[in-house]
């Protein structure tokens, strides 16, 4: 036993080779590996800048009517149709009232994205809260699940009308006419779409609750609230992410469907969905008016979806290691 290295070596635990890194650096480096997510994030940053900074660069007012310059085609149509009515002052054309296409797209994006994000966040908050409570508190499970059934069967249109009747005035007072309507629509969209999230979260919580680390947390005196916040929520992040990505899409689309049915924002408040809905009757002559907002919606939804995929991988320390 003289020549052998100290035998303790043989029994020593394997020590992870890579040095520990800061948590966020770690998340970032994992995230970077997901090319789809990077492209998605890139696009989202772009589109966000586009709608936030856009109005300062392209200063035409989206609401300004110009009857002399209406029905202008986008610049690119000149490529194949030399007779098309194009104008560099309106690179993406203008609509039947002469509103500039590009500034409308910017303004519409602002509101669509705002509605999408806000409704999504609200959906998540409601869905997660209900899901966690019904999964964690046994007594609440039955009532909350019945509540979910109730909301599943609530018709959205009457709900919206009721909300408008009761809350428009106070909200208008508090947030101004457009802000008030925004709050209303976001709330109604969220109120009618949180149920799947709640169900999924509940299922996951029910399973997680039986895991030993939750028991362990109880045994070291962690209060229920902290068990939820520290132990349960971070572990249901992944299904929440999935709901979030779908939720954004649903919110943008629901808003546009409301516009289509005529119960959305007032006419001087453009959103992508509204632009799309308004342009449908003219899509043969002016396909760009449906394509531009349509593509914007689809790309945003796609980008968010990929971003969600990447984030889910990056935020989960288990996959991050691999």
């Amino acid at each position: 036993m003289t020549d052998a290295p100290p035998p303790i070596q043989a029994l020593q635990d394997k020590v992870p080779s890579a040095p520990p890194r800061s948590q966020w650096l770690d998340v970032w480096s994992q995230f970077r590996k997901h090319s789809g997510a990077m492209v998605g994030a890139g696009f989202l940053v772009f589109i966000t800048l586009f709608v936030l900074v856009g109005p300062y660069i392209w200063t035409l007012d989206a609401q300004a009517l110009n009857m002399r310059a209406r029905d202008i085609r986008p610049i690119y149509t000149a490529l194949w149709d030399s007779g098309a009515k194009v104008d560099w002052a309106h690179p993406l054309g203008s609509d039947n009232l002469g509103r500039d296409g590009l500034s409308q797209l910017i303004a519409g994006g602002r509101s669509s994205l705002a509605v999408g994000w806000a409704a999504m966040v609200l959906t998540l908050v409601i869905g997660t809260t209900v899901g966690v409570l019904s999964g964690f508190v046994r007594k609440l499970d039955g009532p909350l699940m019945r509540l979910t059934d109730l909301f599943l069967s609530l018709p959205i249109l009457p709900l919206l009308l009721v909300a408008v009747t009761f809350f428009r005035q106070p909200l208008r007072a508090a947030f101004g006419p457009e802000g008030g309507m925004f709050v209303l629509i976001v709330t109604v969209v969220a109120l009618t779409s949180w149920m799947p999230t709640a169900r999924i979260v509940r299922g996951d919580i029910l399973a997680l609750k039986e895991r030993e680390f939750v028991l362990a947390a109880r045994s070291i005196g962690t209060r229920p609230l902290h068990i939820i916040l520290r132990h349960l929520l971070p572990n249901v992040l992944s299904p929440i992410m999935v709901s979030a990505t779908l939720g954004l899409a649903t919110a943008i689309i629901t808003e546009s469907a409301l516009s289509f049915l005529g119960v959305g924002f007032p006419s001087d408040f453009p959103t992508w969905g509204k632009m799309l809905a308004d342009a449908v009757p003219r899509m043969e002559d002016f396909p760009e008016r449906v394509l531009l907002p349509g593509v914007a919606i689809s790309l945003t939804v796609l980008a968010v979806n990929y971003l969600g995929d990447g984030l889910r991988d990056a935020l989960d320390p288990r996959t991050r290691g691999r």
Binding site: L65, M67, L161, Q169, G262, S267, D268, P281, D285
Partner: protein, 545 residues
């Protein structure tokens, strides 16, 4: 020859719910039923009365209307039969009136029977309607698509509270018209077949008719003009550029006609501010802070370019108007002063009224009152475009506008609990269209009587939306009610029309709206009529070879 032209397909983008116009006053329902059940007399495309189930229209001249204007006697055509083969008699006519006037029936055409005190059957083919008072216009009952004759035998057990339960009767009425219902699917599709008992043996040319409902206007237009899947599409209220582009499909053509429908801005003469208590908000107790000034109202009107509105919103289906009563011709005043937009004049008028932009925010104000307008209307693409254009013009004269659109079902619904009905008028300006039934504007003009305004004590019912009140005007209303002579009536009506419009700018008419419909190239005989049912002459429709 009857039935030789096969099937005709008609598309109504609002689906038909019921075949009984006494239980639904929806245009679609009235028009669909007009092919089956018919009134005694109709209005033709010029608004003139034509006898239908009678030999002539009763008048004072021919003795049909009593000299004191309190009764009218109809003489039914000889030998008319119902589609079930039984004879059409005066009893049926009397029954129809009783049916509608039954207090429990909820008859939707009750207004047609306004003032009727009794109906007598003089003989099997003669019926006399007696009124409580002199009726300068005694052609309410049994005239026009809204009051067709029901068969007594069929509806006998359906009066009063039973009216709604008779669904078979309401869906499959026995009539005298060119078609009979073969299959009725509420809110979806109706198939008709030619009435083999129809009085003219050569008509209708079509053996069957399919009346499809549902969908949206654009695709209805497409189905006729672009793909020719259907022969006729009703009421194509589309932006003119859209309609023109679809019409380029070349498979059909559009037809248009004008009636009395006027798209207008209503000025609120009372204060709708949310800060006021509910009892006085938007009531005569609180005059409007700036719209009560006629100069402001006039300036707002002057700023509007009606020609452009028509071009953007209605095209062939509209023309600018300054009148509340644009037709019939003898009632319409020749008021065209508003056709030219005058932004500078509007500004000057506001300056004169003391409204100046003192703080440089682009909005005029006086004594701390800003010219900030809440402008509401029902949700509808054309109205929304109008809102935008008008908002833009008003901005140019220094008036700030907030737009609001309200779902039609709420806006036009009379729910007293809702803050958003057009009657409550919790806004400064609102826009919608209204017309009058038939050709006589009297009840229409009588709406603007003092005290007839919606208010909390009347559950917000009342037709004087603007809260207009002028004793002079009320006098004219009474006078009109006493006058039987047509020229005199026309003069009075013109005067009243002008008081409401160009003299007070209480109502700011924008567009005289016509009807546009489309039919395929192979459908002949279509004569568009806005005074009666669009399908009034469906018996004459035929296939063009």
């Amino acid at each position: 020859e009857r039935g030789s032209d096969g099937d005709v397909k008609v598309l109504y983008w609002q689906a038909v719910s019921i075949m009984n116009p006494y239980l639904s006053s929806g245009t679609k329902d009235i028009e669909a039923s007009s092919m089956v059940i018919e009134p005694l007399g109709r209005f033709n495309e010029t608004g003139a009365m034509v006898p239908w189930l009678v030999d002539e229209i009763p008048t004072v001249t021919n003795g049909g209307v009593s000299a004191d204007l309190t009764s009218i006697t109809w003489k039914i055509k000889d030998g008319l039969t119902w589609s079930d083969g039984s004879a059409f008699t005066a009893e049926d006519v009397k029954f129809t009136a009783d049916y509608c006037m039954d207090p429990d029936g909820g008859c939707q055409q009750l207004a047609k029977f306004d003032g009727v005190s009794s109906i007598e059957v003089l003989d099997p083919l003669t019926v006399k309607v007696t009124f409580e008072r002199a009726m300068p216009n005694p052609y309410g009952p049994f005239m026009g698509a809204e009051s067709p004759i029901l068969q007594k035998a069929q509806f006998e057990n359906c009066t009063g509270a039973n009216a709604p339960t008779c669904s078979t009767e309401n869906f499959y009425p026995v009539g005298t018209g060119p078609f009979v219902v073969e299959d009725f699917r509420p809110n979806d599709v109706i198939t008709f077949k030619a009435n083999d008992k129809f009085r003219d043996p050569a008509k209708p040319a079509f053996a069957t008719m399919t009346l499809k409902g549902g969908g949206d206007v654009t695709s209805a237009a497409r189905a006729v003009l672009e793909t020719a899947e259907f022969d006729y599409a009703w009421n194509l209220q589309l932006a003119p550029d859209v309609l023109n582009s679809i019409a380029e499909g070349g498979k059909g053509q559009t037809v248009s006609a004008f009636g009395t429908l006027v798209e207008r801005l209503e000025m609120n003469l009372t204060n709708p501010s949310a800060e006021l208590p509910a009892e006085t908000r938007a009531t005569v107790a609180e005059p409007h802070p700036f719209l009560s000034d006629i100069r402001v109202r006039k300036a707002l009107s002057m700023a509007i370019d009606r020609e452009l509105l028509v071009e953007v919103g209605y095209g062939r289906a509209g023309r600018p108007t300054c009148n509340l009563v644009p037709a019939p011709a003898m009632f319409a005043s020749d008021n065209t002063e508003c056709f030219t937009q005058d932004l500078e004049g509007a500004k000057a008028l506001l300056e004169e009224a003391g409204y100046v932009d003192s703080d440089g925010d682009g909005v005029r104000e006086k004594d701390g009152v800003k010219l900030a307008i809440l402008y509401q209307t029902s949700t509808n693409a054309v109205r929304q475009d109008f809102q935008l254009l008008i908002k833009d013009w008003w901005r140019q004269i220094g008036v700030e506008t907030e737009l609001r659109n309200i779902e039609g079902a709420v806006f036009f619904g009379g729910d007293p609990g809702s803050p958003d009905t057009f009657q409550k008028f919790y806004a400064d300006v609102e826009m919608y269209a209204n017309n009058f039934a038939g050709t006589d504007p009297q009840p229409y003009l009588a709406m603007y009587r003092c005290g007839n305004e919606p208010k909390p004590s009347s559950q917000w019912l009342g037709a004087n939306i603007n809260r207009y009140c002028d004793p002079e005007y009320d006098k004219l209303i009474d006078e009109l009610g006493q006058t039987g002579e047509l020229e005199k009536r026309a003069e009075l009506a013109k005067k009243m029309n002008e008081m409401l419009t160009k003299e007070s700018y209480t109502i700011v008419p924008l567009v005289d709206r016509g009807r546009v419909s489309a039919h395929s190239n192979s459908l002949g005989g279509v004569i568009l009529n806005t005074w009666d049912s669009e399908l009034w002459n469906v018996a004459d429709w035929h296939r063009v070879k």
